[in-house]
């Protein structure tokens, strides 16, 4: 496969092999504007691609063109509040899955392969379970559930742990109407992101700033909705996602990271194996962090294309 040196849309930062999407459009999801990005021949068989939490479609600027070169029309979308999609008043898992289906409805009614990274992998696993008639094959890149729990602490300590999380979240909600992202130079934004993505090169993170941030009068800001926040709480348990796997009605290829890092899920084959459906393949890549497709784009694409063949 060729490796053209194409610059980011803003023209500020080149990165080897990166290509801006060939087509961009918007989809209306219940009144909310969702940005859709496509790579590859419009008449080629479609494939749906979902990014992870706090990412955006253009984090696929290297991975998606390689997949497209394998003979696919790659359709990705910015999840609500991410990238070029509208900032919403409300965010939930169900709303994200609905947005995904609204995008898919504009592409085809036939079942097609879907690929997701991290939260995107988990979203598409949910979609395959809820709408099995829309998905032909599922590729999940380090978005498979683990059974991580809080450390085993005494009950009164556990209460205070929850209290701190809850009060912190409610305090955040009280200020959210006036929240805005901190401005900075491109270099500062790249370094801030580097703290959560320590295995990715500074050059790549600079490229992401050019693609995923906006240039305001006082500096660059990530487009990501400032009302969104890491962590959180709620009734959901990781076991419930594990329970979805055994009956998954489509062939699945899962990639797992082997190096632990801040954004990673720390899922292992050992955790997953009792829950896997009969047709599942799991590949754990050596010395690879959570962003498997960014660290090893060619190797992941080769394995994906073999799986889809």
């Amino acid at each position: 496969m060729s490796e053209p040196a194409v610059t980011a849309e803003s023209g500020l930062v080149p990165y080897p092999g990166a290509q801006a999407p060939a087509r961009r459009r918007f989809v209306n999801s219940g009144g909310l504007r969702i940005a859709v990005h496509e790579w590859g021949d419009e008449k080629a068989p479609p494939l749906l691609l979902a990014h992870g939490g706090f990412d955006f479609s253009r984090t696929y600027d290297v991975f998606a063109p390689l997949l497209a070169a394998g003979g696919f029309r790659i359709v990705s979308w910015d999840q609500r509040g991410h990238g070029d999609s509208e900032h919403a008043a409300l965010y939930t898992w169900d709303a994200d899955v609905r947005d995904a289906l609204m995008v898919l409805d504009t592409v085809t009614c036939e079942p097609i392969p879907v690929i997701g990274h991290s939260k995107g992998g988990s979203l598409l696993t949910h979609l395959a379970d809820a709408c099995p008639h829309r998905v032909s094959k599922l590729v999940n890149i380090d978005g498979l559930p683990s059974r991580a729990r809080h450390p085993d602490v005494a009950e009164h300590e556990r209460s205070r742990l929850l209290a701190k999380e809850l009060a912190g979240w409610l305090d955040h909600r009280r200020g959210v109407a006036n929240a805005e992202r901190k401005p900075g130079t491109m270099d500062e934004l790249a370094r801030r992101r580097g703290r959560m993505n320590p295995r990715l090169s500074h050059e790549w993170l600079l490229y992401l700033v050019a693609a995923g941030a906006q240039h305001d009068a006082d500096g660059w800001r990530w487009k990501l909705d400032p009302s969104m926040r890491f962590g959180g709480f709620g009734p959901w348990r990781p076991e419930w996602t594990l329970l979805r796997l055994p009956g998954l009605p489509v062939p699945m290829l899962g990639f797992l990271a082997s190096a632990s890092e801040p954004m990673g899920w720390d899922t292992t084959e050992e955790i997953l194996s009792p829950h896997l459906p009969p047709d599942a393949e799991i590949h754990t890549l050596p010395d690879t962090g959570h962003f498997i497709h960014i660290e090893r784009p060619r190797e992941v694409v080769e394995r994906v294309l073999r799986f889809l063949a």
């Binding site: 919403a88 209460s159 209290a163 409610l170 909600r173 959210v176 709620g234 959901w236 329970l243």
Partner: protein, 218 residues
């Protein structure tokens, strides 16, 4: 009298049904698909202090956001915006509002001086564990309250009993009230059946519960 409160991109309507009385406020939280009452309901008229009622996001006179995405946790933050305005309050929730009142009693144990949980639409939610997943939508952008996304999504939220009881325990430990939760509801979905077994929750009548919390010091 209506006070407009900002919660993120939503404008909430907080109705002062009896805004000027002295003492601690009683905050009414409505059930699924409903809105604040227009006047002080007879059943709470004996409350000695001010009485307020909140319209949740997408309900009553509060704004209707585009694209849905409702959760009971965000409704808890709606109620917390009202609590920030009132400083402290006793909560009275019906149905869905009862569950929200329980969550906020655990999350703001110093500011919530008792939560009274009563029957009403949406008490059971989506049950104690996940059911067959479905995707809701599309629903036309009606922009009228109650938001159809709210009606559907707030009937699907999973309410595990041990999640509900963790809020009771937290209210108990951190509020310094002997019984931060009073249960008047007759319907007992799994989460509420577990709540009434907790030491900090009392099964009682609405009249007794209001009289009890009216005497609780600030």
């Amino acid at each position: 009298m209506i006070v407009s409160l900002r919660h993120g991109r939503v404008t909430l309507a907080l109705h002062g049904l009896r805004p000027d009385a002295a003492g601690r406020a009683l905050l009414l939280l409505h059930g699924r698909g409903l809105r604040a009452p227009a006047a002080v309901p007879k059943r709470v008229a004996a409350w000695p202090g001010p009485i307020w009622a909140l319209d949740f996001t997408g309900h009553g006179a509060s704004s209707v956001p585009r694209g849905g995405g409702y959760s009971v946790e965000i409704l808890m933050a709606d109620a917390d915006a009202a609590l920030a305005h009132l400083v402290s309050a006793t909560l009275l929730g019906n149905g869905l509002g009862a569950y929200v009142a329980l969550l906020l009693a655990g999350a703001r144990p110093q500011q919530v001086r008792g939560a009274v949980l009563c029957d009403g639409p949406g008490l059971a939610g989506g049950g104690p564990r996940p059911v067959t997943p479905t995707v809701v939508g599309p629903i036309g952008a009606l922009e009228a309250a109650p938001d159809p996304f709210a009606l559907i999504e707030l009937a699907r939220d999973v309410r595990p009993p041990d999640y509900a009881t963790s809020f009771v325990r937290q209210a108990c430990q951190l509020s310094e009230l002997e019984r931060p939760i009073s249960v008047c509801a007759i319907e007992r979905p799994d989460w509420l059946a577990a709540v009434v077994e907790e030491p900090g929750a009392a099964v009682t009548t609405l009249t007794e519960a209001l009289a009890h919390y009216a005497c609780v010091p600030a």
